[in-house]
């Protein structure tokens, strides 16, 4: 009998029920879309903020102030200590390996040019291909870590090309001073070897780097007899904004209680990642680049908070919209309810029938709404960040619970109000 009644309502009043289902679908899609976007926005914005470059630098532990300010071209063997290039893939074996987006080593040297000038040449990876022990393949290097460089002539040095080890890139000021063009052969003299190299690109970095050369790491190592040595590594990692615990840990991880230590170690705080890098690479000291790490944290927090508040507003909007409509639709059926009462139906069973009808409609509406909402989230993700928004399973129970609560909250008071009316009055049409 119940089924028959519900079927009857759904069939005979399909216009009205469709309207309710449609509105619920709208509300559900709004909730789904916003929740999905909100939960993923942190990762997405974090990814975008990587354009600011590395947030961690790794240096040899005993590198001191003095070895850093050596005289260009001179004395670089003095006081110098290095990391081993062979150790670098270990960066991708730490606990937070997945959060390490990119990294690149540096090795500086003073090289003499044919014009007699001595310039700072930096050996690095451009798009260095790594095959990790974990079976993962990875292209690491500065091409993606210097997004603000303009290549004014030529192109980025491509390490996968043949003969790439004998090519270099030059800063625009240096190229201007030496009168170089892309394709020119340059004779470089290092402390051990001399090489003829080809200029593949000229960059405008808007800083000191414009007066220097960037070359493949192998080339600089060979020129200065420092095989396998790197003087520093820049790491770009996705991190969680620092909180009080992270700040305490950064000062001295050993002073934490074992429980705090575990929480800290297993959260992607920049200090925790630094600590793990130091564990993985022998003789290294990793430190956060405060300018990038702190600002990232601030911006991420603000963006997330903004999205949370907008989401809350739209959830309230969706909730009120749905419960409004449900209330309206129940009140509209006062005549029918009056009739049911007049022919002797109990209040409880009337309430039951109406609730089942509405919840059934809500179910259909919210399932449709969930998928539409997920579509909205993807639309936002693809348009804004060029990448899909991850589907968070946690959203489903939240949306389901919300719709259920809102529908109940919208219909129950209305049903009770209508039930309180006397059937004769309702049927008569006066209220």
């Amino acid at each position: 009998m119940l089924w028959k009644m519900i079927r009857g309502v759904l069939y005979h009043q399909r216009g009205k029920m469709l309207l309710i289902a449609f509105t619920i679908a709208l509300g559900a899609s709004l909730a789904t879309g916003m929740l999905n976007v909100m939960l993923d926005v942190g990762d997405k914005v974090n990814q975008e903020l990587k354009t600011y470059g590395a947030n961690i630098t790794v240096k040899p532990k005993d590198s001191s102030l003095l070895s850093e300010i050596y005289e260009v071209g001179d004395g670089e063997e003095l006081n110098a200590s290095y990391l081993s290039e062979k150790d670098l893939p270990k960066l991708k074996t730490i606990f937070w390996a997945f959060n390490i987006v990119d990294f690149t080593p540096f090795l500086e040297a003073g090289v003499s040019l044919p014009s007699g000038h001595t310039v700072k040449a930096v050996g690095t990876w451009f798009n260095h291909h790594l095959s990790l022990p974990t079976g993962e393949d990875l292209d690491a290097g500065i091409a993606s870590m210097r997004s603000w460089w303009d290549i004014t002539e030529g192109s980025w040095l491509d390490e996968s090309k043949e003969g790439a080890e004998d090519t270099v890139m030059a800063g625009t000021l240096l190229a201007g001073q030496e009168g170089w063009q892309v394709g020119d052969k340059i004779h470089l003299v290092g402390s051990r070897e001399e090489r003829d190299v080809t200029l593949t690109g000229i960059y405008d970095a808007g800083g000191d780097e414009d007066m220097g050369l960037f070359a493949p790491l192998d080339l600089i190592q060979a020129l200065t007899d420092r095989e396998d040595k790197v003087s520093s590594v820049e790491v770009s990692a996705l991190t969680t904004p620092d909180n009080d615990l992270a700040r305490r840990a950064a000062r001295n991880p050993a002073a934490l209680s074992s429980r705090d230590y575990e929480t800290w170690y297993c959260t992607a705080y920049v200090s925790a990642i630094c600590y793990q890098i130091q564990e993985a690479i022998p003789g290294s000291a990793a430190s956060a680049v405060r300018q990038v790490a702190d600002s990232e944290g601030a911006i991420l927090e603000k963006t997330q908070l903004l999205m949370i508040l907008i989401t809350v507003l739209s959830l309230i909007g969706a909730a009120l919209g749905i419960s409004n409509l449900v209330t309206a639709s129940v009140m509209e059926r006062s005549k029918e309810i009056g009739l049911l009462k007049a022919i002797g139906a109990r209040d409880l069973s009337i309430t039951g029938v109406i609730l089942v009808e509405i919840l059934f409609t809500a179910l259909i509406g919210s399932v449709a709404g969930y998928f539409v909402g997920f579509g909205f989230a993807q639309l936002i993700g693809l348009t804004v960040f060029d990448s899909a928004i991850e589907m968070k399973p946690g959203v489903i129970p939240i949306v389901a619970g919300l719709i259920f609560l809102v529908t109940m909250a919208g219909s129950l008071p209305a049903i009770r109000m209508v039930l309180r009316l006397r059937p004769a009055e309702v049927l008569h049409g006066g209220q």
Partner: protein, 486 residues
């Protein structure tokens, strides 16, 4: 009773008598209007607010003295008027000099600056202890602190050796038997002093080099390496490095400085070499993870007093503006003050533009989706409320009301509700935006006066449009059928 009075009475009566339903409609419009006005206010203000957040990355413009001309506080202040003052987050002057630490025989790059402004342009500086507030307080970089082993509250002595200044041709003083003094800038612009004595033939018979300001164990060796110094003996001035004497291996720049100092040396009477020493207290230790850790920071006043020179090398500006605006400001400064060079910190300006535009697009799309869905939601509720009154419409038609007048009346009612809901929502929305702004960005939001009438008009339009469809349907049906309830 005039027609207009009757119309008003019908609307008010309907609103009053059908309180609960009208309340539902009003609530739904108000919610829609709140979302509209709240989100749009946030959307308009987000670039400004977010832009301010991005300033935590630090200075995005630097002003340097040009080819000729120097940078002073007055010139900087004048040049900064090109940029609207509300956009300037901070402007920090810097002057870099090498100061010696006599007790450790080392020298460090020292920056003279304004710490109040540093807090604004470099909010990422993490200082253990405090920023210096009083005279003769300094902040040292973490690396410096570790190298020389100072702690908070330690006192260190710093000295400044200016370049000796001379008048007239130096060679006039190079007479036999003269005792000469000279100085020159060596590595990192650190000053090195040389004293020499000429014999009766005018050749160098004694030489002493004070190279403590140079890098320890590299440049400083020019003062102690006997083989290097012995080369000078018996030579006559001026000298050329590489011909008369060979550079000390590993310290070309310092060697060149020794030669330069000799070539510009004057007799002891004509030379003015002075050294200024002061004691400073370490008020803070700076860690940034960058090269700033290798510097010592002191107030510009302290550095001016120490060096007796009031100039600055560079000013860092943190300006909240888009990349194009920044470029415009830099070009204007360049044009109006040819003695200055204004440059953008490309890394920040470029990255900020790309990230900020994404965030803006995000808020825009979110606003658009939420608004579209909410407004549809509002109109479905309005439709439900109106279609419920089919019987009433039928009755009126049966009593002889024309289709036009019925439509007119419902429209009036809908627009009244829309207007009221819009006003309510517009104000609530602003309150919401204000709350978001205070919570998220810690600053109040600008009220958009135009938005309130827009919200009201949109709400009225939405409710009018959503009334139309069900009325049209109801009016089209034969009153008898409607009244019968089928």
């Amino acid at each position: 009773m005039t027609k207009r009075k009757m119309f008003l009475r019908m609307i008010t009566a309907s609103l009053l008598r059908r309180r609960s339903r009208m309340l539902i409609a009003l609530l739904s419009i108000a919610v829609g209007a709140t979302i509209l006005s709240g989100l749009v206010t946030i959307y308009i203000d987000v670039p400004r607010q977010m832009g301010a957040q991005f300033r935590s990355y630090g200075a995005n413009m630097i002003i340097l003295p040009g080819e000729e001309g120097s940078l002073t506080g007055a010139v900087l202040e004048e040049a900064m008027q090109v940029i609207p003052s509300e956009n300037i987050v901070g402007a920090t002057p810097y002057r870099y000099v090498r100061l010696d630490m006599p007790s450790r025989q080392q020298s460090f790059t020292t920056a003279g600056t304004d710490f109040d402004e540093v807090r604004k342009t470099s909010p990422y500086f993490s200082v253990e202890g405090e920023y210096p507030q009083n005279r003769r307080e300094i902040m040292v970089g973490k690396e410096v602190a570790e190298t020389i082993g100072v702690r908070l509250g330690s006192s260190i002595e710093l000295s400044y050796k200016p370049l000796a200044s001379f008048e007239g041709e130096a060679s006039a003083d190079w007479v036999p038997g003269a005792a000469l003094l000279g100085s020159s800038e060596g590595f990192n612009e650190a000053v090195l002093n040389v004293s020499a004595v000429l014999d009766e033939e005018g050749k160098i018979s004694e030489i002493e080099v004070d190279a403590l300001s140079q890098t320890e164990n590299i440049g400083s060796l020019v003062g102690t390496d006997k083989a290097f110094l012995d080369q000078f003996l018996g030579k006559s001035l001026p000298l050329t490095l590489g011909e008369d004497v060979d550079a000390l291996s590993g310290a070309t720049i310092s060697s060149q400085a020794v030669v330069d100092a000799l070539n510009s040396s004057r007799s002891r009477e004509n030379a003015r070499l002075s050294e200024n020493k002061e004691h400073y207290t370490v008020a803070g230790i700076l860690s940034t993870g960058g090269e700033e850790e290798a510097y010592i920071y002191m107030s510009l006043e302290d550095l001016t007093r120490l060096t007796q020179e009031e100039i600055m090398d560079v000013a860092e500006l943190s300006v909240s503006a888009s990349a194009e605006e920044l470029e415009g400001y830099a070009a204007n400064i360049q044009e109006e003050y040819p003695a200055l060079t204004a440059r953008l910190v490309k890394r920040l300006a470029k990255s900020e533009a790309s990230v900020l535009s994404k965030l803006q697009a995000l808020v825009f799309l979110v606003t658009a989706v939420v608004l579209a869905l909410t407004l549809i939601c509002v109109s479905t509720t309005m439709m439900a409320v109106v279609s419920e009154r089919r019987r009433e419409i039928g009755l009126r038609k049966a009593l002889g009301a024309s289709d036009g007048s019925i439509r007119h009346e419902f429209l009036g009612e809908g627009m009244f509700l829309g207007g009221l809901g819009g006003l309510l929502g517009g104000l609530l929305g602003f309150a919401f935006a204000q709350m978001v702004s205070v919570h998220v960005f810690g600053s109040s939001i600008t009220f958009q006066p135009l938005l309130l009438p827009i919200t009201i008009i949109v709400s009225m339009a939405i409710s009018a449009v959503s009334c139309q469809l069900p009325i049209k349907k109801a009016v089209a049906i034969d009153p008898a059928i409607v009244l019968k309830g089928e």
